[in-house]
Point group: C2
Chain length 408, copies 2
């Protein structure tokens, strides 16, 4: 037996199965362009090209200087923090920064931001509460952070299951006297659900009802730029008075917004009314980051900072992203319209990269679909994820009906 | 009191004080070019420019494509692993890969590689053995990995203290029944010491003398490309028969070799004769990486891979690095010659980015030196680090004598 391994070294699968299926699909598509490859969580344009914003592409090229290749600050530096706050808080920037102390620490992508949050704010063996349907990697991130995972039921009657959420939190709070909850919103992966303002307010009320224990909310906003401002940024402005025991964290990923999935930039942000909490956040999150990955990708981060701190460029960039939203919305609307028409069951979709259909047996259905050149990603035993982000409107047309005919 | 923080959230300072002093020095140098800024651990050429290899610069530009911006494999992919093994094992590649199972997993820089090693191969609360004089960040990395740090005495009579090393390992082995030892070689930071082959062999004998407990050796080779092949790569070929309880790991940093400090590429490599150990290494290290930072910087990693897997480009790149070595060697030789002539005491220097001088009171000496426009980095109470990597040969000339006159 191999005893060199530590007793905490564990193998966690994460969402590696996605990469395997995606790889098979890519190869099939390369052989035959009629193949529908709806496996990849990457935005492609209507020419089936990897979608980028030319304004940012230029900046990225410009920043590949010796400065971009030198070390930078662990947290990304003050300019980056200012830029990222501007972007994440959007139209609510003034309101939020006037009312709350806010800060940010750079991280390698959304994964890095979540991993950082758990290492700073969850004890060992504490339960990380994650949605019953969600990104497979949440479990792996929690396990590697020496935490447990438990699930709150996500949907009831095609809405966020507020009762189930409250019940599960109450149960864990009773046992552990601490709460750490991940909510993936807007454009929930894989359903595409986005919380309504009414639901957000009720969730905040539930979280704030635990007044005597630490409650940490980690908002995973990986896809937030593919939802309207009022729905995507409004959450950050709905906390009201934030008591010192309640800490909203925001896990930002630059991957989908800046199309730099492989350049690994993200950030963990904190929103609080306590000076002590924000000071602790800054030193602790920086310390953890410094001692795991040292500093962020200076090159990519500089390009982002240059766009985000220039109000004209930021607004141009925003317009480009809004156009991508429209492109995605057209695909989503078409798929959902046709799914409704033919009676293909889906999880409640609002917006974002993915739509998830409901089937009897996801493994069997996937096999049948692949025989008909349609590649999707299985999500548990009864769901298949359709990455509308990676197929064209033309490919979307008729797809719901085709799937319906095959899986029945 | 802020109770949202986890009970394991700790503030660790790492080597942040280096960045502060370096920042002050940079500003002073910008005001007055006569300032000697020997604080930065970054290689500058004889024109005081950030030193790069044009061949790699071109590749880096070429690889800033949509492919470089897409996700990649957590471990960096098979091509990267092949390339990095070729580079790290150098002239010993055939011999090492014929005799041993070897593998690699990508990481964000050398820091990431060390953090990964500790999470896979050190239990919680286990002692990480580090040199008594060394990189300040080792302690912070260990603390954030929920480990303790203890120190083996590094030098005795200007040689590696083999006895002290054996004693400390024996003491910890007795207590903990496991060993995790970091050795920073060649071009030790901050002394510039490089182990002789005789010393390497004795160290290996000591490590292998612990036959009944897991012994993990993490070789930090951050500066290994600034030493001759026989001294830099030979260590990896001196393990002889590797019993299953002994695991040599290699922490590679691309920062200094490829001048991409801020692009965050590194790798953790393992060398073993056990199929089981190497299989475990691959799945465990990938799992940990996947759940902390997800995947490496695809862009920079692709550029490296393209150079390293093309034998012609690799050899051209190697020649360029060798020229940098010569440049650095000239500075090192001059400083040491003059130090010897004027009687300025240093730690035993052989090669690399840094020379470390010995003084009565490092804080006081630094203040005096700064008054004379010489900026160094304090290392403990009695040492100051001179970054000869960041000053020109012209600036090196007479520097030892100037320092000697000021600190006495």
């Amino acid at each position: 037996m191999d005893k060199t391994l530590s007793n905490r070294a564990i193998f966690t699968e994460g969402d590696d199965n996605i990469f395997v299926t995606a790889d098979v699909a890519c190869k099939a598509k390369a052989r035959d362009p009629h193949v529908i490859n709806a496996t990849i969580g990457t935005l492609y344009d209507e020419m089936s090209h990897f979608s980028t914003v030319p304004l940012f592409d230029e900046e990225l090229k410009k920043c590949l200087t010796v400065n971009g290749r030198a070390y930078t600050f662990t947290d990304g530096g003050d300019d980056f923090i200012m830029g990222i706050k501007h972007w994440v808080f959007g139209n609510y920037y003034e309101e939020i920064t006037n009312k709350y102390f806010t800060s940010a620490v750079a991280a390698p992508g959304g994964t890095g931001a979540i991993a950082l949050a758990e290492r700073c704010y969850a004890n060992q063996d504490q339960t990380i509460l994650i949605p019953s349907i969600g990104w497979k990697n949440y479990e792996a991130i929690a396990m590697q952070a020496s935490c447990k995972s438990d699930y709150y039921n996500l949907f009831k009657d095609d809405k966020f299951d507020l009762e189930g959420f409250k019940e599960k939190l109450t149960e864990v709070a009773k046992k552990e006297k601490r709460l750490f909850v991940i909510i993936n919103n807007p454009c929930h992966n894989p359903s595409g659900y986005t919380l309504s303002i009414a639901e957000i307010d009720k969730i905040v009320t539930i979280l704030k009802s635990f007044t005597d224990i630490p409650v940490v909310l980690a908002l995973d906003i990986a896809y937030f730029d593919y939802e309207e401002e009022e729905k995507s940024r409004n959450f950050f402005n709905r906390f009201g008075e934030i008591p010192a025991n309640f800490l909203p964290l925001i896990c930002f990923s630059a991957s989908k917004t800046f199309s730099i999935y492989g350049l690994r930039v993200g950030a963990l942000l904190a929103v609080t009314q306590s000076k002590e909490v924000i000071d602790n956040f800054r030193v602790t999150a920086s310390s953890v980051a410094r001692s795991i990955w040292s500093c962020p990708n200076h090159h990519a981060l500089t390009a982002m900072t240059n766009i985000l701190n220039n109000s004209e460029k930021r607004s141009q960039f925003k317009q480009a992203i809004d156009k991508k939203c429209d492109m995605l919305e057209a695909r989503g609307n078409l798929f959902m319209k046709e799914a409704n028409e033919c009676g293909l069951k889906t999880l409640p979709y609002v917006s974002g990269f993915f739509i998830t259909i409901t089937v009897k047996d996801s493994d069997k259905s996937l096999k049948d679909l692949i025989k008909h050149d349609i590649y999707l990603i299985p999500v548990g035993p009864h769901n298949l994820r359709v990455a509308i982000c990676s197929i064209t409107l033309e490919e979307t047309k008729g797809l719901a009906k085709k799937i319906k005919d095959i899986v029945e």
